[in-house]
Amino acid sequence: MSDDAPIIELRNVSKFFGPFQALAGINLSVVAGERVVVCGPSGSGKSTMIRCINRLEEHDQGSITVDGISLGEDTKDIRAVRQEVGMVFQQFNLFPHLTVLENLTIGPIRVRKMEKARAESLARNYLERVHIPEQAGKYPAQLSGGQQQRVAIARSLCMEPRILLFDEPTSALDPEMINEVLDVMVELAGTGMTMIVVTHEMGFARKVADRMVFMEAGRIVEVAPPSVFFTNPESDRARMFLDQILEH
């Protein structure tokens, strides 16, 4: 595979919830190492799109290829893709009955069949990376929101994925904790990880995004580098959206 062959490719992807069309002919290619930030008004299909990439949602039309694997009914393929694609959720979704360390090691041990000792050293390594090595023995409920989200990021990293998806990772956080999570994400971007980030944090987007994707009503309305997108967006819709969120 050549370097600029896309690691993620969505071709004409559509998705329906009953009669409602949540995605309408999405085309998007992402190359390895690229950082894409997705934004758009509520209900525009941002979550649905990235959830299709690791098949938490099934698309109805079109094709999705991730790391050379085409997503279909084959459960083996789906699991192979999920091991390559980490996901960070708005609500963290940590496993509350497991300690932080167990949250991190359960994937490597059960899915990658790694030995416990190796998985633990891997986990401690990533806890270090997200700046909370001292919390390994605690339960998620004992941590602050910002710490929980960093644990969730570390949990994804422990699977050593090639791609990370973020669905509004800071939206559920108190304002004073947003930066500690964004800092970790900026550091991650520096390591060459392929990232698709749904967020309204435009400061973060300016700093790390290679491309901005603007969605509305199930369609990608505009794709542009941040320098263009923030100063001179092509579509009126994007302009209005930016005016709205940058006002504050």
Partner: protein
Amino acid sequence: MHKTRKRLHWLDWLILAVLAGFVFVIWYRISGTLNYKWQWERIPNYILRWDEEDGRWVANLLLQGLITTIRISIYASILALILGTILGIARCAENLAIRMLARTYLEFLRNIPPVVVVFIFFFFLSEQFITALNIEGWARGIARQENNGVWEFFFGDMRLFPSMISGTIVLALFESAFVGEIVRAGIQSIPRGQREAARSIGMTWLDEMRFIILPQAMRKVLPPLSNQFISLIKDSSIISLISVQELTYKTVELVASTRMIFEAWLTTAAFYFILCFGLSLLFRRLEREGRA
């Protein structure tokens, strides 16, 4: 907030007095009109009996029955938990056919009287199963052996093994439907995000159930589950109808041979009460400690 009164009011005394009068009238009728002769002193002998030949205490009818009831309750609980977990998972399955089967099973048990269910299970399943596997012959073989102490410890008199096993299976099949409902409620109470997180790290369906969903679900439904196990002990008296020699069956036997209707049944009631109430106190305590 409304505070529960700890002291008795005059109205409470009145209620207690009326109840006491009521008990007295019944007592009077039994001993006077029916000319019933109370023989409480004979009861202990039917619990523990001194064996002259061997020179040791041995369990008599009532205690034998109680021990069998306890054994069956334990085994049926374990089996019902396993079957119920499978049923509960089936009730949440994506596959419609599986969901419908599990639902049918539940509705069948919910809308048919327990006694009828027990007879159906017994004649259609248990007996066939016992005959097909020749468990009868196998158990008799063990009963004849010299060193069958371990078997006897776990299953009592091995000659009664087939009947005990079918009783256990029938009881477990019966209770599993209700355990299944409890497990289903537990599974459905786990937020969707937990499944999504498990899936997004590539877990198989089975691992997701085993390590993420069930541990959380089971912890949540521990209180109703323990109630269900107490119900199971009480329901176990139904299987006396299929000649499993547990406490109720033994009491019927005792009454038939001694005519001590009231003493025997009151003793048996006390046994059940102590067993069930004791367990519910224990569960409540464990629950409180678990939360602390």
